[in-house]
């Protein structure tokens, strides 16, 4: 959360704020001068010592509302903390104000004696106005932040979809799959037909998921099994997909297209480079109200392929960060013989 004071992040606000208070001050001084015949100098001191001083002390109320937000605390707690903060701020304000009055005001003792109770009341009233004002600012900023994140997320979802489509029309996948079909039409027409249907379903899934942010895990899993089935036809015994999925996982929600890059990497860096069978193991279970998905594959440590955090992994990390506001939901482990990615997808209660 952003604790930075809006006056610090937006200096322009400070200027408006000061202008407002100076205008109020001038109006007050003129009013007192004309109506009550108070000396302008004395009226200015009175205004500076009390209302204007609150304008300065009151800016600290921002931190009070940030520490006792309505979202994370119970109402009595919020009220209590505001009451304590208000009392402290009013006391500090009045104390400094009285010191100024005593130093600068020609009839200080008369002025103070008459005004203490009303100023205590004024202090609390000011406090309430400030709290409402800062809550409004805070709410507005949160709202803007949310809009920004939504835009970013839309971009990332688009990127993931594009990535999925691109990897399906990538020549290694598409043309080699079509070549397998070409081969099967002669040797095993039934299997060829099955492969054409699988390929169509896979592509249809990637094409239709426009703008839907989350899908049931069941669907996402089905789609990726389809992808593995197609690759299995090509690679035969070299590819060994294993799924260990708890029944409880199937109906929870998961951001769409978030798993495919992981399977793609497992095939690209595992199966493409290997001469021995590669196990791609998927384990899913519910853990502390989170869906835990582990995708692990062994690979040939001698295969010299460059491997960084590619666009696929980065996209997953960014999306999890934005949707769940937690950068630690994806864990990548590589022990030089096995590559393992663990995702934790939080679920609503």
């Amino acid at each position: 959360m952003n604790f930075k004071h809006p006056f610090l992040s937006k200096p322009r606000l400070v200027i408006y704020y000061l202008l407002f208070w100076i205008a109020t001050g001038i109006a007050t001084v003129l009013l007192k001068w004309y109506s009550f015949n108070v000396e302008p100098g004395t009226a200015a001191v009175e205004f500076f010592a009390l209302p204007f001083l609150f304008a300065i002390v009151g800016t600290s109320i921002w931190y009070v509302i940030k520490f006792s937000t309505l979202e994370n605390n119970s109402v009595p707690r919020v009220i209590l903390s505001h009451f304590i903060a208000a009392t402290i701020i009013v006391l500090v304000w009045l104390y400094i104000g009285v010191v100024f009055i005593k130093l600068l005001h020609p009839e200080s003792s008369v002025y103070i004696d008459n005004r203490i109770p009303i100023n205590i009341f004024m202090g609390y009233a000011f406090y309430v106005i400030y709290v409402l004002f800062f809550y409004a600012v805070n709410y507005y900023e949160g709202f803007k932040e949310k809009l920004r994140n939504e835009g970013k997320l839309k971009g990332l979802v688009k990127e993931a979809e594009l990535h999925a489509l691109k990897s399906q029309i990538n020549p290694h996948f598409l043309f080699n799959s079509l070549n397998s079909i070409s081969s099967l039409t002669m040797a095993d027409p039934v299997k060829a037909q099955e492969m054409v249907i699988n390929l169509s379903n896979l592509m249809r899934y990637s094409l239709k998921h426009d703008q839907v942010e989350k899908v049931p895990f069941r669907e996402e899993l089905k789609n990726n099994k389809l992808y593995m089935q197609i690759e299995k036809v090509r690679f035969g015994k070299k590819l060994n997909p294993v799924f260990e999925v708890d029944e409880a996982c199937l109906d929870v929600e998961i951001p769409n297209m978030i798993l495919q890059p992981l399977y793609e990497n497992a095939i690209k860096y595992g199966v493409y480079e290997a001469t021995e069978p590669i196990d791609i193991v998927t384990r899913c279970k519910m853990k502390d109200n989170m869906l835990e998905v582990v995708i692990q594959n062994n690979y040939d440590p001698e295969a010299l392929s460059k491997r960084g955090e590619g666009i696929g992994l980065r996209n997953i990390r960014d999306r999890l960060q934005i949707i769940y506001n937690n950068p630690l939901l994806m864990k990548v482990e590589d022990n030089k013989t096995d590559f393992k990615v663990t995702l934790a997808i939080p679920q609503k209660n």
């Binding site: 080699n176 070549n179 397998s180 070409s182 493409y272 001469t275 295969a303 460059k306």
Partner: protein, 249 residues
């Protein structure tokens, strides 16, 4: 009737091999003598069986089709069969007879075999494959070098190379773990290795920048490079200029 062409298929996917075999069954002048699942097997079988024709995939486990070609003692005619179109130019630089894009038709395959038959009629002998490749495509650099020492194939990451010395028709590649001989030209390595990391310091030497410990003048206008392990290498005039350009002194 003409003699049958001894043919080997090098292809990692079984279905693709089956398809090619069943197409070839109907071609009378072809006899498939072996099938290989990867480049390592390919090298072994081609050197052993000395086929006339090889069908070769490019993207395979371990080593690519191109890397496999560099390791052959026997040079057969090559027909590439791949899903990618972007290697076509490189394939013809390797003097490929044809380049089939998967999935291909029976007719297209026959056409390719026709081209091989034509070549055999015209030339009588197979031209040397690797020699044609003297320059590496611009903009990308070699990230590994494949070498064969006796019967073992080694894949050396380009970053492990310390320096390369020319030896007539061969080059000797020195790494941390030893040295490897390869039939290739210095010119090829000069263009294939990243010039920010490897400098041609002499007609006979390309050296990795990180290996250089000292550049010493040992006669007037004559320099030597001393590596971290005390190896001394001669520097030519143009080599000295290359060193200056890269190291900025």
């Amino acid at each position: 009737m003409q003699e049958k062409l001894k043919t080997i298929i090098v292809e990692d996917e079984e279905l693709a091999r089956n398809l090619l075999k069943s197409f070839l069954k109907d071609v009378e002048n072809i006899e498939v003598v072996a099938e290989c699942e990867n480049g390592f097997e390919g090298v072994k079988m081609i050197n052993e069986l000395k086929p006339d024709l090889v069908f070769l995939d490019i993207q395979m486990p371990k080593i690519t089709g191109f890397e496999m070609l560099e390791l052959l003692d026997h040079k057969p005619h090559i027909i590439f069969a791949t899903a990618y179109d972007q290697y076509a130019i490189k394939a013809f630089e390797y003097n490929a007879a044809d380049y089939l894009l998967k999935p291909y038709s029976r007719e297209r395959l026959k056409e390719a075999i026709g081209k091989v038959a034509e070549r055999i009629e015209n030339e009588g002998s197979v031209s040397d494959v690797a020699e044609k490749v003297s320059e590496y495509p611009k903009g990308e650099y070699l990230d590994r070098i494949v070498v064969k020492d006796r019967h073992k194939i080694n894949i050396i990451p380009a970053s492990d190379v310390r320096y390369i010395e020319s030896m007539d028709d061969y080059v000797m590649i020195y790494t941390q773990n030893g040295r490897h001989m390869k039939q290739q030209t210095m010119k090829y390595f000069e263009s294939a290795l990243d010039p920010q990391n490897f400098i041609r310091i002499h007609r006979s030497y390309i050296v990795k920048v990180d290996e250089i410990n000292e550049i010493q003048q040992y006669e007037k206008e004559s320099y030597i490079v001393i590596l971290h392990d005390k190896t001394k290498l001669k520097v030519s005039k143009s080599g000295y200029k290359n060193l200056k350009d890269i190291l900025n002194f």
